[in-house]
Symmetry: C2
Subunit: 304 residues, 2 copies
């Protein structure tokens, strides 16, 4: 039994009001994998990097016990590179550079040792690659979680709709939920999106928390109020990784466990934004995570 | 012992994507009074209306057991009138008409029978009138709650800062918290605002719920996800009324009761937006309110 995560493994260069980085390790699978690995010990990644990525960078993932047999290293090629600049409100950003490099013709390999996949996170990536990954798994996983973004709604909507029919949970942000459904009300947006395939929908609202819809129920998770957000990059991926990592750990998928998984996802995301890139996600431990979970409980608990 | 509420009692004309009204009953004290009266039975209003307001409109408040001895009716004058149009997202609006009328020289009268005031809500109104009301109470109330808005920050900041020094709780929205503090982060904004006087701060975030700061703690209340918001007018006032009405009912002010009060305020606000003006707030009962409170519990409860 394992949790398989597919997504980008990349270099990022980030500018926020708090500073600027050179090329640092990033990518959806990186953030999601690091988050998940704190909660579950059989995390396996699928991805592709160039020769420039370096063993030390892969070592960041390996040191957390993450299986990288599904990660291809393309000799003579360069890793996916993204550069962006966040505005003062940290809720919007400009993409400065996108170099697809190895991602341009990424053909995902699913090693035999990954065929025990019970939990699958299709991290943010071309919907076509997400479909191929699903096709190459011999057995349908117990739970398939899809994370995607507006970019794919703009340029590959048909493929994305095909993926949606094959997943159990979709995680997107509020603007994306509105774009995908054509509805402004998130309640109506959720109704429409749940008709597209997934049984559960999580709408991520950044500093306003997250909403979980499904089984005719709704759960509202708060976000931790933070004095500073240093770098939002990867927060959504860390959320998805924490979410599916928790479900893999408890091993039972129901609404109550989903609620807790949303809290774990929110907790991992709240760490992620405290430093640049993966820095904060690399230095966590169980005690820090449990303390953070307690803060979420304190934050939202009331008894009437 | 009583709960005294001062604020506007007015006519509104409202346009939203769902429709348009003629002059209907509105005003901060009206919405707050109606909300509070469901939770506490000794609610007393201070305000002023013109001859045009009519006994039937005052009857809306009287029928809920609200004491109107502090409401002046100015013969030969007209009531305060506000007209506004909400945009499609319901989060922003244009003011079309503001006619101060009786409000222009409002001199608040505090009847002797109001001197038993233990809980005071200074509803949205000129800070100078809020100050005068405080001055005319012979005894400091147990709890003073202030609701205000960006308009007074723009044109009467000094007076507003004077009021702030004399209140226990401030309720404003997130944009107003940012304006008042000059801080984008709501955590930093709260720190600064709590230094201005109030012991507790509630930041209302509309569809994203509310944050309560104070006693070195934070509480995040969700908003009820609604398929439609028909008319947001008065939601903030209904929140404030429900909040202070609950505290008056339980009679003890501490952080845990404050949390519950935020949930009651949120519940009353969630009803308010379901129909135009005061329509929905006029037809509630204990059972409906308790059912709504249960939905808030369901919405945010998790057990890890």
């Amino acid at each position: 039994m394992s949790l398989v995560i597919i997504g980008t493994i990349a270099y990022d260069a980030i500018e926020t009001p708090f500073g600027k980085t050179d090329k640092i390790v990033g990518g959806a699978a990186t953030f999601a994998g690091l988050a998940a690995a704190y909660l579950y010990d059989r995390v396996k990644l699928i991805g592709v990097v160039g020769e420039d990525f370096g063993e030390d960078n892969l070592g960041i993932l390996r040191s957390k016990g993450i299986d990288l047999h599904g990660v291809q290293v393309k000799q003579g090629e360069k890793s996916f590179f993204w550069s962006g600049k966040y505005h003062n409100d940290m809720n919007s950003r400009d993409t400065l550079v996108t170099e697809l490099n190895v991602l341009a013709d990424f053909d995902p390999v699913v090693p035999d040792s990954y065929q025990d996949c019970e939990y699958l996170l299709l991290g943010n990536l071309t919907p076509q690659v997400q479909l191929t990954t699903l096709d190459r798994l011999q057995r349908k996983p117990r739970l398939v979680v899809l994370d995607t973004m507006n970019f794919w709604m703009d340029i590959a909507l048909d493929d994305l709709l095909r993926v949606l029919k094959r997943v159990d949970v979709l995680t997107i942000n509020d603007a994306e939920a509105r774009q995908l459904s054509g509805e402004y009300s998130l309640v109506k947006a959720a109704e429409k999106i749940l008709e597209l395939g997934p049984r559960y929908l999580i709408i991520k609202k950044g500093e306003h928390g997250a909403l979980l819809f499904g089984d005719d129920r709704v759960f509202a998770a708060p976000a931790l109020p933070l004095a500073e957000v240093y770098d939002p990059t990867g927060a959504g991926d860390a959320f998805a990784g924490g979410f599916v990592g928790y479900l893999a750990r408890v091993g039972t998928v129901n609404f109550n466990n989903m609620k807790n998984a949303v809290i774990f996802g929110s907790a991992l995301a709240s760490f992620c934004v405290e430093k640049f890139g993966t820095e904060r996600l690399r230095e966590l431990d169980n005690e820090l995570i449990n303390q953070r979970i307690s803060r979420f409980t304190e934050l939202s608990k009331f008894e009437i």
